[in-house]
């Protein structure tokens, strides 16, 4: 019984950073901006969160620092691609390279330091319910935030006027401008939200998942988050499903490797990527629905013609 609960816990923990980063990027892409710098912003968030935790002694302050650092990094991307209308793909890739390099420099003196883990929730009695107690009442704070973020973003996009405006900009920024919507302002806000989420996802890695700093510790999770957004057809609950599927297969293949199944380990390591993509491709085969959800102005620079 406890084994099942532990496996489920590790799956959720593995999925949480992917989910948070992908939800942030989903909002960015729904506004029509393609920020390929998720990996870079995540790793900056991870190192800043870790450093601030060590310096202040409080992982909560570390988490806030990670959010701010992610947002600041995305602001750099925003200035280049929105105000200066630079190419979004090239700028996003540079942001990733910058993030990996900068985080290595910031984190140099913290390599090997013992981190402080963001404490998990522990409610007497409730957390001890067999099978589900720790899953529901005993997880880390960032896990709960990831669920609130997913629900909140789904509600915001499809139930509020501001969300409608954001989707409209992603669909056709020229028309949105003609209607008097401030395209650049809303895109700035969306980009910074995405940056803050990436920073929080990074904090989860260095404050919860493995409370320490290792160079390049995001290990490609930012890229997976990007792929999740696309294959989930830009829909929040599908992103959640994709992230948990990825988490489940990656934990599952670790257990399979430990059991010594006669399949090459390289194949097992590749399995989470293959499985997630295959499943999401299959559920997004309804082309009409996919086209309806694809932000039509994704990646295009907008220059108001005043």
């Amino acid at each position: 019984m406890d084994i099942a609960q532990n496996i489920l816990l590790t799956i959720m923990t593995a999925a949480t950073p992917l989910l948070i980063a992908a939800i942030g990027e989903l909002v960015v892409e729904r506004s029509g901006v393609l920020n390929l710098g998720v990996e870079g912003m995540m790793v900056i968030g991870a190192v800043c969160g870790f450093a601030a935790t060590i310096l202040s002694g409080s992982p909560w302050i570390g988490m806030l620092a990670a959010i701010v650092a992610g947002a600041v990094a995305s602001l750099l991307f925003g200035v280049l691609t929105l105000s200066l209308a630079a190419n979004q793909v090239a700028t996003g890739l540079s942001l990733t390279l910058l993030g990996l390099g900068l985080s290595g420099m910031i984190g140099e003196s913290f390599v090997g330091s013992a981190g402080i883990k963001l404490a998990s929730l522990d409610i007497p009695v409730l957390s001890d319910i067999p099978l589900i107690g720790r899953l529901i009442f005993g997880q880390d704070p960032i896990f709960y935030m990831s669920l609130i973020l997913t629900g909140g973003v789904a509600w915001f996009l499809f139930r509020t006027r501001a969300g409608l405006t954001l989707r409209a900009i992603g669909d056709n920024h020229a028309s949105a401008h003609a209607l008097g919507i401030n395209v650049l302002k809303i895109r700035y806000l969306a980009v910074m939200f995405g940056g803050a989420c990436a920073g929080l996802a990074g904090a989860h890695l260095s404050l919860v998942y493995t409370p320490q700093w290792v160079e390049n510790m995001t290990a490609g999770r930012g890229w997976i988050a990007l792929a999740l957004v696309v294959f989930a057809s830009w829909r929040p609950w599908r992103v959640l499903g994709g992230a948990y599927l990825f988490g489940a297969v990656s934990i599952g293949q670790l257990h399979a490797q430990a059991l010594g199944i006669g399949i090459p380990s390289q194949f097992l390591s590749a399995l989470p990527y293959v499985a997630t993509i295959v499943v999401l491709v299959i559920i997004s085969r309804d082309r009409r629905l996919t086209l309806m959800n694809t932000p039509a102005s994704l990646g295009q620079a907008f220059v108001p013609d005043r």
Partner: protein, 526 residues
């Protein structure tokens, strides 16, 4: 009306000017719109009409001059401010969001936090009141162009504007849909609202407008009562000279069959595309077949199949000069003597960033390999002959350009279209397929292009023209067919075809019987 002169105009501009770089798109425009009038703004493409109304609607900022609203100077800095002032606008290229529903599209244009379902009810009520039925929960991507225009109109009406600007509203409508629009405009006028009606269709302007202001090269060249003018006097004000009459005289008896389409079907390639169903078409040498229809009924899909951009599985369903050609690609068809002019000039018919000679080589390197390429398998471009051909085409079609060989994108729409059509005509194709040959082209260039198409048919080639412009269709076609939802009506001789009949075929009435006006009304009530 007699008292119009003493009344304060609802909207007035004084010396309104907009400068883009060295171009004076609008140059000292004086315009006055009285309350409760339908005011026409006439002019060719590039005359400055759209620039002017964008300034009135706050999308563009004037470089100089002022705008008066009910006699008081106002500064309209954004569409929101324009709406607050009382100006509504229906754009030519719709400012709709395809992925959103009708109600969401309308909600976006309204200020404040109104619940979506309240907007839906209000939109439904208003649209019926003005005879423009709409389903608020439908997705825009699924709607016809006429329905999209209704959304734009209802959207502007919801804000209760005193002045409504309509930019080329009928260019995308069937004749019957246009009639309904005119009824709506009459209703708006009866309520005391003013309408600024932008068009280059003289007949319509004479039919519904009280006054007209004519623009040419960014300047006002005439202000008149269109009912007192003749179409040719209005055209003179617009063009600044006589428009050449085109003549189809000399079109002989049709000869051998050059294009034969039999039961051709093609599935829709995207959710927003149209499937072609059982298309039959026979085109003979010396014939111009026009395919009329409202935009988005399968025109571009038909063009793609005819040109070979999309091949069909049944090679026999399309025969060119009696050779099965359904599975041949574009180059193979070009080598058989065919030429193609797609609708979209930038990026489809021409590469905007490449100069004219480069664009010439791109479309004819295979069919004119010996003339344009040298060096055997190396395929080097022989710049001398290419430059000479570019010059010859430009002279033949009167392409006006500032440089000898400018980038295609720097030419105005009309001049680029003349070059593209000339590029294909220059090789005297046996079969020419053209999609929307004069879309967005000014009257002078349009008549030049149409005459060139007729001349090609006279010399014994088969010409297929896909066009939404009924004037054009009647001017050049020997037979007319109508495309509707991917189906093609049987071609009928142009002489026995009427506009009303075309309108009915556009609405999907393929059988020859029972096509009275009553049926048409019943069809529109759906």
């Amino acid at each position: 009306m007699q008292n119009q002169r003493t009344e304060t105009p609802l909207l007035e501009t004084k010396g309104l000017t907009k400068i883009f770089g060295s171009l004076r798109a609008c140059d000292g425009i004086d315009l006055a719109i009285a309350p409760g009038e339908i005011h026409a703004l006439l002019g060719e493409n590039g005359a400055g009409k759209s620039t002017l109304v964008k300034m009135l609607f706050g999308v563009l900022e004037p470089s100089a001059g002022e705008i008066l609203w009910k006699g008081k100077p106002v500064s309209i800095r954004s569409p929101g401010e324009a709406r607050a002032t009382g100006v509504g606008m229906v754009f030519q290229h719709f400012s709709l969001f395809e992925a959103l529903t009708v109600a969401e599209n309308i909600a976006l244009a309204l200020d404040g936090n109104v619940a979506i379902d309240r907007i839906a009810d209000e939109a439904r009520r208003l649209s019926h009141e003005y005879g423009l039925p709409l389903d608020p929960s439908a997705h825009v991507a699924d709607l016809s162009v006429g329905e999209r225009q209704r959304i734009e109109i209802v959207r502007s009406l919801l804000q209760n504007p005193e002045l409504i600007i309509l930019d080329e509203p009928t260019s995308v409508l069937t004749p019957q849909e246009a009639d309904r629009l005119f009824e709506t405009l009459a209703k708006l006028k009866a309520e005391g609202r003013s309408v600024l009606y932008i068009s280059h269709r003289l007949e319509e302007v004479q039919r519904i407008c009280d006054r007209a202001t004519v623009l040419r090269h960014g300047k006002v060249t005439g202000a008149c009562d269109p009912r007192q003018e003749t179409p040719s006097s209005l055209a003179r004000m617009m063009v600044g000279g006589e428009v050449a009459e085109i003549s189809g005289a000399g079109l002989g008896e049709p000869g051998e069959v050059l294009v034969e389409v039999r039961k051709l079907s093609a599935p829709a390639r995207t959710p927003f595309a149209v499937a072609l169903r059982d298309v039959d078409l026979t085109v003979r040498a010396g014939e111009v077949i026009a395919i009329a229809g409202v935009a988005g009924n399968g025109q571009s899909e038909l063009f793609d199949v005819l040109s070979g951009e999309v091949t069909v599985s049944d090679a026999d369903s399309l025969r060119i000069a009696n050779v099965p050609a359904g599975r041949l690609g574009i180059t193979a068809r070009r080598l058989m003597g065919c030429s193609f002019v797609p609708e979209e000039r930038h990026g489809h018919a021409a590469v905007p960033n490449m100069n004219l000679s480069g664009n010439l080589v791109l479309s004819r390197y295979a069919s004119d390999r010996e003339a344009f390429l040298t060096g055997g398998w190396l395929g080097l471009i022989s710049s001398g002959p290419v430059a000479a051909a570019t010059k010859r085409i430009s002279a033949a079609m009167d392409v006006r350009k500032s440089l000898e060989d400018p980038p295609a994108g720097s030419l105005s729409g009309g001049n680029l279209q003349k070059f593209i059509v000339g590029r294909e005509l220059d090789r005297q194709p046996r079969v020419l397929v053209v999609n929307q040959p004069t879309w967005g082209v000014d009257a002078g260039a349009a008549s030049r292009i149409r005459q060139a198409l007729l001349d090609l048919a006279k010399s014994g080639s088969a010409v297929i023209v896909i066009s939404q412009d009924l004037d054009e269709v009647f001017e050049i076609a020997s037979s007319i067919s109508v495309i509707n939802e991917g189906q093609l009506s049987k071609p009928e001789p142009a002489l026995s075809m009427t506009r009303e009949r075309i309108g009915l075929l556009m609405g999907g009435f393929h059988d020859g019987t029972g096509h009275g006006t009553e049926t048409a009304e019943a069809a529109h009530a759906h």
